[in-house]
């Protein structure tokens, strides 16, 4: 294999959708209905998927961890431009996380593309015939390009560029039915809300650029570690914003971008509205890939984080996961229900990163991508089958009409609920990933102070941090002060260990430094853990409710039920993704992420924790947690079934009993209303004020000046030059005259008057300066001579 083999393949996979995009832009309408779609499937996603598979196989089975680390180190960088004198390079961030993410995106997207052909075949005519059909696939291709570009970017600036481009695609696709007012409104809301987040991202980016002097991810991390060690650069500043250091502000700024894209509280408002887009788009962009980009970003800049920044991230994640899960309970629109569950799950990922559960959060990202894409496609199948009915209250009993959809949806419900048999390794999706996040949160909330004090006071025990924590079975992922270039040997040990699911013992030579870090990271407030645990009960409840209302019970709307049907082209992807969900829970992804973790979390100030042993239920204290979380889904399922078993009467009674609470939840805590008043209306008001100032103040000052000049001129004209200056300035105020008159005045010399006026002024000024200059000249000569 040649040099830069992986980068070339990955880059080709990014460019292929671009080719597809341009083909569809220019030749799309000519290609016609199915062909345009298949072009996108083959070029837009088929080729990238094939390349991704090739890369994955040779990367994971063809290389050992030493050669992987070496490849990461020697990845190709193209010199793109200079900012000032700082070179900006374009390249592939080649590590196991990139490979895993790339594969996940291409795999999920490929099947969604296939699904889209079925979905759009019935859709396009209602809008604009074929040109709109090809436009849809052109946008999807552009999205594929941008998303894959985002995944492989080695540079924060390019990450930002692709970041905005996926935002653009999201905007275009949410507003795909732009003849409908709510769709274009939702599109704008999405883009502008994201821009608000990007504003923070830009500030973070500027701080990185200014303080670290580079935008390359690895270099920035290395510089950051060095500055942390020596107390220079960003750490030498005594800046403080409400107690946050400059480094914290940088981390929070970067996280703001993630808040926008991953729709975290309080910038979450755009995602539910984004469901106005076609359902495959909701599955691809607003569930599986783009919204996860924020999580990916935080994972990528983990090394630049400080304890305060991570605490803020955990707080935001915690609020999001709780608040959004509660809203999901009252949703009656099947897509909105899934959208709020996406928000809540994204909250889990962000919360996980905030706790330091780097591996678990990304693992959850992967499993979530599979099952949530599948759930959305199922909902698309239902919506399409029911003639665009999205209200679950009109559904019910659909299992007989669409059995494949029903049971794949059920697999999704199990996966998101974290169903599995506690204490064993039999489970699905969230059973591994979400529970691992909770395990790490548990350690951070309950056992952290002990652990920190213990380690700091007892130097001998420090080396134990590298291995499994004696109490909790949670261990550190990496050596904190190790920089990006430092840890090949350890990377090897770690990678091998994780790949085989075994524990490992690595002896670091910087144990004391690690121990001191341990002491500087505060424990997680306990309420955060409780909220996350509570939501682990809420999630299965609303998902079971959603499934039950749609597929079980008796049909509630005869009309909808009679029309319901399943389409074959569409359920193949469903089945594939269901199998994918199963496999993703067990194979490949977690070891890949764990392999990347060592280098990617080698932060100087914060620690990443590996909660893997949780699933094997090591340790007595841990067993409570295992069963407490592991049993959640059974209790919640039973509760949901009990309430919704007999149609909508019981829920209706409950709703009446809890009317105020229901009102708050249905209005989503009134965020939209408040934002509308403060931001949208406020901004427009400000704009109107600006227009008022411009028209009535700034402009009229100049008009008044002109009028004053006219008066003075008229006055002086009486005395000095009645026919010259007077005529000139009158023209200022008297503005509208006809064309003929205009030309006539030109010919009769009014313009000439202007020129004379200008020349006259110039002459006076000139003489004045000459005299002033002459008198000054002597002084200057004297001073120069001295």
């Amino acid at each position: 294999m040649g040099e830069h083999f992986y980068e070339i393949l990955l880059a080709l996979g990014v460019l292929s959708p671009m080719v597809s995009f341009w083909i569809l832009v220019f030749a799309g309408p000519k290609l016609g209905k199915p062909t345009a779609g298949w072009t996108a499937v083959v070029l837009g996603m088929g080729v990238p998927l094939a390349l991704a598979t090739w890369v994955l196989i040779s990367w994971w089975w063809g290389e050992d961890s030493v050669s992987r680390a070496a490849l990461t180190e020697n990845a190709f960088r193209f010199h793109w431009a200079d900012i000032g004198s700082v070179p900006i390079t374009l390249g592939v961030k080649l590590d196991s996380l990139t490979v895993a993410m790339y594969f996940m995106v291409t795999f999920v997207a490929f099947w969604i593309f296939v699904f889209s052909i079925g979905y759009m075949s019935g859709h396009s005519d209602e809008v604009d015939g074929q040109s709109k059909y090809s436009r849809f696939f052109a946008y999807l291709s552009l999205f594929a390009f941008s998303m894959l570009g985002l995944v492989i970017s080695s540079n924060l600036l390019f990450l930002f560029i692709f970041w905005e481009l996926v935002g653009l695609c999201s905007y275009l696709l949410i507003g795909f039915y732009f003849d409908k007012a709510y769709a274009s409104a939702a599109a704008i809301k999405a883009f502008v809300t994201n821009r608000v987040g990007d504003f923070g991202f830009l500030i973070g980016l500027m701080l990185v650029f200014y303080q670290l002097g580079t935008l390359d991810l690895d270099q920035a991390a290395a510089v950051f570690a060095e500055q942390a060690a020596t107390g220079s650069g960003i750490f030498s500043s005594d800046f403080s914003l409400f107690g946050w250091s400059l480094a914290t502000v940088m981390g929070v700024g970067l996280f703001c971008g993630a808040m926008g894209k991953s729709a975290q509280f309080p910038l979450h408002v755009w995602l539910p509205d984004a469901m106005a887009g076609p359902t495959p788009v909701s599955a691809l962009i607003h569930a599986a890939t783009m919204v996860a980009a924020g999580v990916y970003l935080v994972a990528r800049v983990f090394r630049l984080m400080t304890p305060d920044a991570l605490m803020f991230i955990a707080l935001i994640g915690c609020l999001t996961l709780t608040l959004m899960a509660l809203v999901a309970i009252v949703q009656v629109d099947i897509k909105k229900c899934l959208a709020y569950s996406t928000l809540s799950q994204l909250g889990y990922m962000i919360f996980g990163l905030g706790c330091g559960a780097w591996i678990a959060a990304l693992f959850h990202l992967m499993t979530h991508a599979f099952f949530k894409a599948m759930l959305f496609l199922c909902s698309g199948q239902v919506i399409e089958g029911c003639h665009h009915e999205q209200d679950m209250r009109k559904m019910g009993g659909l299992r007989k009409k669409m059995p494949v959809t029903c049971w794949t949806f059920f697999v999704g419900v199990l996966a998101i609920s974290g169903a599995g048999i506690a204490g064993t390794t039999i489970g699905l999706g969230g059973f591994f990933s979400k529970d691992e996040i909770l395990a790490v949160a548990y350690v951070r909330a309950f056992e952290w102070d002990d652990a920190g004090k213990h380690e700091v006071h007892d130097g001998d025990a420090a080396h134990a941090l590298g291995s499994t924590h004696p109490v909790t079975g949670v261990r550190l992922v990496s050596d904190p002060v190790q920089n990006a270039h430092g840890g090949f040997a350890r990377a090897e040990a770690r990678g091998a260990a994780n790949a085989h699911g075994e524990d490992t013992q690595h002896v670091g030579h910087d144990d004391s430094a690690r121990a001191s870090i341990f002491g500087t990271i505060p424990a997680l407030p306990k309420w955060m853990f409780y909220l996350a645990l509570f939501t682990a009960y809420v999630t299965p409840f609303y998902m079971m409710r959603c499934w039950w209302m749609t597929f079980m019970g008796k049909p509630r709307d005869e009309n909808v039920y009679r029309h319901a049907h399943e389409s074959k082209l569409m359920y193949v992807p469903l089945a594939v993704l269901a199998v994918g969900t199963l496999l993703a829970s067990y194979f490949l992804f977690r070891p890949l992420i764990a392999d990347a973790a060592t280098a990617a979390t080698a932060a100087p100030l914060v620690l990443a924790l590996d909660g893997h042993e949780h699933t094997a239920a090591i340790g007595a204290a841990h067993r409570f947690l295992t069963f407490g979380v592991g049993g959640a889904f059974i209790i919640a399922f039973l509760a949901a079934i009990a309430i919704y078993r007999r149609g909508l009467e019981t829920p209706e009674r409950i709703r009446r009993a809890l009317a105020p609470l229901h009102l708050v939840l249905v209005h989503k805590y009134f965020f939209d209303e408040v934002y509308d008043v403060i931001w949208v209306k406020g901004c427009l008001l400000l704009a109107k004020v600006a227009r008022f100032i411009d028209t009535w103040i700034v402009d009229s000052i100049f008009d008044m000046l002109a009028a004053a000049t006219e008066r003075i001129a008229a006055f002086s004209g009486l005395i000095l030059d009645k026919h010259g200056v007077d005529g000139v300035v009158n023209g200022v105020a008297r503005s509208s005259t006809d064309f003929a008159g205009f030309i006539r005045r030109w010919q009769t010399g009014r313009i000439r008057h202007y020129v004379i006026f200008a020349t006259g002024v110039a002459t006076v000024v000139f003489l004045w300066i000459w005299l002033a200059g002459a008198s000054n000249a002597d002084a200057a000569v004297v001073s120069a001579g001295m």
């Binding site: 832009v25 793109w80 431009a81 900012i83 000032g84 604009d128 040109s131 600036l157 930002f160 560029i161 692709f162 905005e164 481009l165 653009l168 905007y171 732009f178 003849d179 007012a181 274009s184 599109a187 704008i188 883009f191 502008v192 821009r195 504003f199 500030i203 980016l205 500027m206 701080l207 650029f209 200014y210 901004c683 427009l684 400000l686 704009a687 004020v689 600006a690 227009r691 411009d694 700034v698 002109a706 023209g731 200022v732 509208s736 064309f739 205009f742 030309i743 313009i751 202007y754 110039a762 000024v765 300066i769 000459w770 002033a772 200059g773 000054n776 000249a777 200057a780 000569v781 120069a784």
Partner: protein, 553 residues
């Protein structure tokens, strides 16, 4: 004769030709003249790869003042004055020359359907004035003698006045006079500076010669008849140590004020009007709204750039200490322009007025980037000028196309135009997204470079970081008004009244596509398209400025 001379005067020859050819041939002659000019300017690219007087091909200028295609000849001479015809080009003027010839060609093509305009009298005068305007604009960018610069500056003013005032909309006269008076007010101050700089440079050289005990003249090209040693040579003014020392010295006073800050201010006001920045921007929306489409394109694409060019050619290299003194107010004006322009744009209901206010907002980035005097800031500002010089004529042409079809510009009366005119809708999206600053398109690079440059100036200026943050907030507002505009005009249901609109014609597409491609090319390859040409000169200029500032402190 220098190729630059040809580039400047070919349009003027075309203008003369327009006066004599048969009426039906006028527009052909005009397009031919601007095409020839454009092709001539393209040949300048060869200069970059084979520059005179330099060994490396890496950009123009290993020092500031390293010029290409120089032509200089004494033009007006008396006992006390020597005014030269002095043209030349470096990395600062080169991209602007090419931009000018390109935009002139495209807007000349946009004037092709002159016969169908509401006011279509006098094509002879229109095209002649149009070409004269092009000569004026190019003259400003190539002349390196201040007096010559000033003459071209005024030459450009009159054709513009007539083009707006004679072929414009209903309030054309008000707009034309407003444009004229604002610019004139600015140029009066510039004239003061022009004369003052001449005499003060005379003092400097005379004193220096006295110090060294040299008799006679300072420079070789003037024969011994002149008693003054003053100069209008912009390069000499910026690089001669004696002149720079004298200008920057705190003992050099002008009517009791320190010389450098005051002269900087005089020049600054003249260029700020042109840029334009708040609060002297009010001529711009009026001029744009009334001007015919091709003239709007020129106005937005080239004329506004003269303000920025003036800052970079005159204000900063000649008075770097003045730049330091005024850095804060200049940056404040830049930020205010960004935010205030964006807010004003948001409140507009006239399509063209909205685009005009967006220009104010975008040019604010230019001013902000220049204000901090860092390499990144200068690079970003110049890039932003060129990017805006492409995206904003495109937007104005897009507006003009709608206006030709609908005969109104009320944003709220449009809707669904993308469905009516799909090809036009696609190109419009590119244009407006470039204006929005979407990554991958040209508007993004300038903004980011400026923001990073301002932020990185925190070592020099304590206010730099708050400024950068405020300016970054502008990107949210920009996204707001552009997307809202797109939604109201292009998205939504197709309307009955617009159903019969034809899609973009061949000619219109031909005008839009080059600009769209350039938007993408500049956004994706900023180094290859702009920075390799400009950075050498800007770096040299900054090094020169740093020396002067260092001497003063």
């Amino acid at each position: 004769m220098s190729i630059l001379t040809w580039i400047v005067f070919v349009p003027m020859l075309g203008a003369l030709l327009c006066m004599v050819v048969p009426r039906r041939q006028i527009r052909t002659v005009a397009v031919a003249a601007s095409l020839v000019t454009f092709l001539l300017s393209l040949s300048l690219f060869a200069t970059f790869f084979n520059p005179a007087g330099e060994t490396s091909g890496e950009g123009f200028g290993s020092r500031y003042g390293m010029l290409q295609h120089v032509q200089r000849a004494t033009w007006i001479e008396s006992k006390s004055f020597a005014i030269e015809y002095f043209v030349g080009m470096d990395g600062l003027s080169f991209p602007l020359i090419v931009l000018t010839t390109l935009i002139s060609l495209l807007s000349c093509l946009a004037s092709w359907n002159f016969d169908k305009w509401a006011i279509n009298k006098g094509p002879r005068a229109y095209f002649a004035l149009f070409l004269l305007l092009e000569t004026g604009m190019l003259g400003v960018f190539v002349s390196l003698d201040f007096f010559l610069f000033y003459i071209f500056w005024e030459v450009m003013l009159l054709p513009m006045y007539f083009l707006i005032g004679a072929w414009g909309g209903p309030r054309r006269e008000y707009a034309a006079i407003k444009f004229f008076l604002f610019t004139l007010a600015g140029s009066v101050l510039m004239l003061v500076a022009l004369v003052a700089m001449y005499f003060y440079s005379d003092q400097a050289i005379t004193a220096e010669m006295a110090r060294q005990g040299i008799e006679g003249v300072a420079s070789g090209y003037r024969e011994g008849v002149i008693i003054s040693h003053g100069t209008f040579d912009l390069m000499e003014l910026a690089t001669n140590p004696a002149i720079q020392n004298h200008f920057a010295a705190s003992s050099t006073l002008f009517l009791g004020w320190r010389f450098a800050p005051l002269m900087f201010l005089f020049l600054f006001v003249g260029f700020a009007v042109k840029l334009p920045c708040v609060p002297v921007h009010t001529w711009l929306p009026d001029a744009h709204v009334e001007a015919p489409t091709p003239i709007s394109m020129i106005l937005a694409g080239v004329l506004l750039k003269m303000g920025g060019y003036g800052f970079l050619r005159l204000c900063y290299p000649i008075f770097p200490t003045g730049g330091m003194t005024w850095a804060f107010p200049v940056a404040v004006i830049g930020v205010v322009s960004i935010i205030y322009g964006a807010l004003c744009a948001m409140a507009q209901t006239d399509f063209k007025r909205l685009v005009a206010y967006s220009s104010v907002s975008h040019m604010g980035y230019v001013m902000l980037g220049i204000a901090v005097m860092t390499d990144t800031g200068f690079q970003g500002a110049l890039f932003q000028m060129i990017a805006h010089g492409i995206s904003s004529p495109m937007c104005f042409f897009l507006v003009g196309m709608v206006y030709e079809r609908a005969h109104h510009r009320e944003i709220n009366r449009f809707g669904g135009l993308w469905l009516t005119m799909p090809r036009y809708g696609t190109l419009a999206t590119i244009g407006f997204f470039a204006s929005l600053g979407l990554p991958g398109l040209c508007g993004f690079i300038g903004e980011v470079w400026v923001l990073l440059g301002v932020f990185a100036a925190a070592e020099k200026f304590t206010w730099a970081i708050p400024m950068a943050i405020l300016a970054a907030a502008g990107v949210v507002l920009t996204a707001g008004y552009i997307l809202w505009l797109i939604r109201r005009v292009y998205l939504g249901k197709e309307r009955e009244e617009h159903a019969g609109f034809p899609d973009a014609s061949g000619r219109e597409t031909f005008i839009l596509v080059p600009m769209a491609l350039l938007c993408i090319a500049l956004g994706v390859f900023p180094m290859q398209t702009v920075f390799i040409f400009t950075n050498g000169t800007l770096d040299a200029m900054l090094a020169q400025m740093a020396r002067v500032i260092g001497m003063g402190s």
